[in-house]
C-alpha cells in the first residue's frame, strides 16, 4: 500500500494551513483585537487517492477547524490547499462551486445536520439542485440509487428526519455527501455521536463505500481505536499543530512523541486482563490564546528540557514516512 502511495502525487495537498480567530475586546469591534486564538497553527497534510488520513486529537486541538478550513466553511488565515492542481483558497464563484462537487463533508451530529422541516428525499436532492445536475427524474433516480447504497429503503424518501434513529440519520448524512459523486470526503467525527453497535455499522459502510467508489477520506476523530481501524495514515494534533504523523501500523508499533505516548496509553482497553502502565499527563490543555513558547507540549511533557521552551521543534523523519516534531529526537 505505502509503496503505491509513494509513486502517486497527492490528491489534496495542504501546506502551512493556519486559522487564527481574532479575540475582540468587551465592546465588540470597537475595543479592537485583543489577540488571536491560534486554532490551527501551520499544519501540512497530503491526502492521496483512495486513502484515509486520520486526524486525531483531543477537543480544542483544532482538528475540526482544520477540516472546515479545507472546505472554506471558515476562511483560513494563511496557507495553501491544492486540489487537482488548483489552489482552493484562490477560487471563487463558479470554480469554487464546481470544486465542492469533489470535496464533501460528513458532520458529527446526526440530529442537527438534517433539516427537520424537509423530507429525506428533498434533503438528498438539494446538492444536485445546487450543482444543477440532471432533471427532476434523473435526480430522483440518483437519490434512490444512493439511498440503496447506504442501506436505506426507497420508501424512506418521503419521511422526515425525526422518524429515524441516529445511525440511520448518519447514513442519510453520508448519502447527502455522496450524491454528487465526490472524490474526497471530510468526515468530522462521523461516529462519535453514535452508540457502539451502530458505530460499527457506519464504519463498515464507510469502508465498503471507499472500496467501491475509490473515495479518499480525511477522517477527523478523537477516538483512537476507531481511527486506527479506518486510517492508512494518522496525524496526531495538539494545540493546533501536528506533532506526529505516520502510517497506522508504524504509529501503533511505536509512538515517538511524548504526547502521542500519553494519549495512546490513556485509551481504556476493553480487556481487564491487559493492565498496562498509564502515563497520566499533569495539568490541562493550555489556552490556545497564548500557546506556550517553543514546543507547545512542553508545559505538560514528562521529558521537557530547557530547549523545549525556547525553540520550536522541527519535523523530522524517524522511520519510513514516520514524522515527529520533538526535541528528544535531535
Amino acid at each position: 500500500m505505502s509503496q503505491q502511495i509513494e509513486e502517486r502525487s497527492p490528491l489534496l495537498h495542504i501546506e502551512g494551513l493556519k486559522k487564527y480567530f481574532p479575540v475582540r475586546g468587551v465592546f465588540g469591534g470597537l475595543g479592537g483585537v485583543k489577540g488571536y486564538v491560534k486554532a490551527v497553527n501551520d499544519i501540512s497534510i497530503d491526502l492521496y487517492e483512495g486513502e484515509t488520513y486520520g486526524l486525531v486529537g483531543e477537543s480544542g486541538c483544532g482538528k475540526s477547524t482544520a477540516g472546515r478550513s479545507i472546505l472554506r466553511l471558515t476562511e483560513p488565515t494563511e496557507g495553501s490547499i491544492t486540489y487537482n492542481g488548483q489552489d482552493i483558497l484562490q477560487l471563487s464563484g463558479k470554480d469554487l462551486q464546481e470544486l465542492r462537487r469533489d470535496l464533501q463533508m460528513v458532520f458529527q451530529d446526526p440530529y442537527s445536520s438534517l433539516n427537520p422541516r424537509k423530507r429525506i428525499g428533498k434533503i438528498l436532492e438539494e446538492p444536485l439542485i445546487i450543482q444543477s445536475i440532471g432533471d427532476k427524474k434523473e435526480r430522483i433516480d440518483r437519490v434512490m440509487e444512493i439511498m440503496e447504497k447506504v442501506g436505506m429503503r426507497p420508501d424512506h424518501y418521503y419521511r422526515f428526519p425525526h422518524e429515524f434513529s441516529g445511525g440511520q440519520r448518519q447514513r442519510f448524512g453520508l448519502a447527502r455527501a455522496l450524491v454528487v459523486n465526490p472524490k474526497v470526503i471530510i468526515c468530522d467525527e462521523p461516529v462519535s455521536a453514535l452508540d457502539v453497535s451502530i458505530q460499527s455499522q457506519i464504519i463498515n459502510l464507510l469502508q465498503s463505500l471507499q472500496e467501491e467508489l475509490n473515495l479518499s477520506y480525511l477522517f477527523i476523530a478523537h477516538d483512537i481505536s476507531v481511527v486506527r481501524h479506518i486510517s492508512d495514515r494518522i496525524g496526531v494534533m495538539y494545540l493546533g499543530k501536528i506533532v506526529e504523523e505516520a502510517p497506522t501500523d508504524s504509529l501503533f508499533k511505536e509512538q515517538l512523541h511524548p504526547y502521542t505516548q500519553a494519549l495512546f496509553s490513556a485509551v481504556p482497553l476493553p480487556d481487564p486482563k491487559q493492565k498496562k502502565e498509564r502515563i497520566i499527563l499533569k495539568g490541562d490543555l493550555p489556552s490556545p490564546l497564548n500557546p506556550p513558547s517553543g514546543c507547545v507540549f512542553h508545559t505538560r511533557c514528562p521529558f521537557a528540557m530547557d530547549i523545549c521552551s525556547q525553540a520550536e521543534p522541527e519535523k523530522k523523519e524517524m522511520g519510513k514516512d514516520h514524522f515527529v516534531a520533538c526535541h528528544l529526537y535531535n
Binding site: R100, S112, S113, R117, E126, I140, P154, R159
Partner: protein, 309 residues
C-alpha cells in the same frame, strides 16, 4: 437496474399518498385533543362566516337612519336594538365585523410579510442586523396605541390608513420573533452542510432557514391579528380609526359610550363581539403553539435515557 427504477417510481407515489394521509391523521388527532384550541378555531370561523355572509342576511342597511326608532331596546323588529341615530345595531355589528376582521387580517398578513423579510435578513447579515434592529427597538419603545394615533394623525383617518399604521406598529414584533428563531437555525449543522454544498445565501435563507421560522411566525401572526383588532377598536373609539358613518366595533362602542346608562345594548353587544374575536384567536394561537412546540407537552413528559432524543 432498469427494472428497479421503474419499480421504485410506481411505489413512490403510492408511498407518498399513504404516508401523507397517515401523517394527516396523526395531526388531526393531536388537534382534536386540544379542546380549547378547537373551540377557539370554531368561534373564529363562525365570526369569519358572519363577516363574509352576514351582510346578505340582515334586513336593514347599516347607514339607514330611522329617527323615530332611536335607542329602542332589543325587540323582534330590531334584534339587538337601535343606536342613537335609529340605525339597526345588528346590521351595524355585522357590517362592522367586516371592517374589524378585515383590518386585523390585513395587518396580520402585511406585518408577517415585512417582519419575515426583515427578520430573516437581519439574522443572516450582521451589519444589517444592527441597523434594522435599532430601528425596530425605536418603534417598539413607543407604546403601540400611541404610535398608531400619531401615525393616524399624520396620515388622516381612513380604513386603509388604519391598516398601514397598524402594520408599521406590529412589524417589529414579528421581525423579532423571526430573527430569534432564524438565528438559532442559522447555527445548525444542516445550514453549514448547505454551505459546504455551495448553496447561495438566497437559497439558504429562503429554502432552508425560512421554513423553520414559519410555524412560530403563524402563531405570532394570530396574536397580532387579535392585537390589531383591539387596537383598531381603540383607535375607532378615540375617533381616529375607521371614519364615522361606516361601522366598526370600535366606533359603535364610541357611540354607545354617550348613552351607556340609557342603552346598555350599544356597548354590550359590540363589546361581546370584540371579546369573542380576541379570545378565540388567542386560544387558537396558544393551541397552535403547543402543537408545533414539542417541548410544551401539556405538562406530561416522556423521559427515556438522557441521550434519547
Amino acid at each position: 437496474m432498469q427494472t428497479l427504477k421503474t419499480d421504485t417510481n410506481v411505489d413512490l407515489s403510492e408511498i407518498k399518498s399513504t404516508l401523507k394521509s397517515e401523517q394527516r391523521k396523526i395531526l388531526t388527532k393531536k388537534i382534536m385533543k386540544n379542546k380549547l384550541m378547537v373551540a377557539g378555531g370554531i368561534i373564529f370561523i363562525l365570526l369569519c362566516l358572519l363577516a363574509l355572509f352576514g351582510p346578505m342576511l340582515v334586513k336593514y342597511d347599516p347607514h339607514e337612519m330611522t329617527v323615530s326608532d332611536r335607542l329602542t331596546a332589543p325587540s323582534g323588529d330590531h334584534l339587538l336594538g337601535t343606536d342613537n341615530f335609529g340605525r339597526d345595531l345588528l346590521s351595524r355589528i355585522v357590517y362592522g365585523s367586516r371592517a374589524t376582521l378585515g383590518v386585523g387580517f390585513s395587518v396580520a398578513i402585511l406585518s408577517s410579510l415585512f417582519g419575515l423579510i426583515i427578520g430573516l435578513y437581519s439574522s443572516y447579515y450582521k451589519t444589517l442586523d444592527h441597523i434594522l434592529m435599532r430601528i425596530s427597538d425605536g418603534l417598539m419603545a413607543i407604546p403601540g396605541v400611541l404610535l398608531a394615533i400619531a401615525l393616524m394623525a399624520a396620515l388622516g383617518p381612513s380604513t386603509r390608513n388604519v391598516i398601514i399604521a397598524l402594520s408599521i406598529v406590529f412589524t417589529p414584533y414579528i421581525a423579532r420573533v423571526v430573527r430569534s428563531v432564524a438565528l438559532s437555525v442559522r447555527e445548525q449543522t444542516y445550514i453549514e452542510a448547505m454551505r459546504a454544498q455551495g448553496a447561495s445565501s438566497f437559497r439558504i435563507i429562503w429554502l432552508h432557514i425560512m421554513p423553520n421560522t414559519i410555524s412560530p411566525l403563524i402563531v405570532q401572526a394570530t396574536f397580532i391579528f387579535s392585537d390589531a383588532m383591539i387596537t383598531e377598536a381603540a383607535l375607532s373609539f378615540l375617533g381616529v380609526g375607521v371614519p364615522a358613518p361606516d361601522p366598526s366595533w370600535g366606533n359603535i362602542l364610541y357611540d354607545g359610550k354617550l348613552v351607556i346608562f340609557n342603552a346598555w345594548w350599544m356597548t354590550v353587544f359590540p363589546g361581546i363581539m370584540i371579546i369573542l374575536a380576541v379570545m378565540s384567536l388567542n386560544l387558537f394561537g396558544d393551541g397552535l403553539r403547543d402543537l408545533i412546540d414539542p417541548r410544551v407537552k401539556s405538562g406530561k413528559k416522556i423521559k427515556g435515557d438522557k441521550h434519547a432524543k
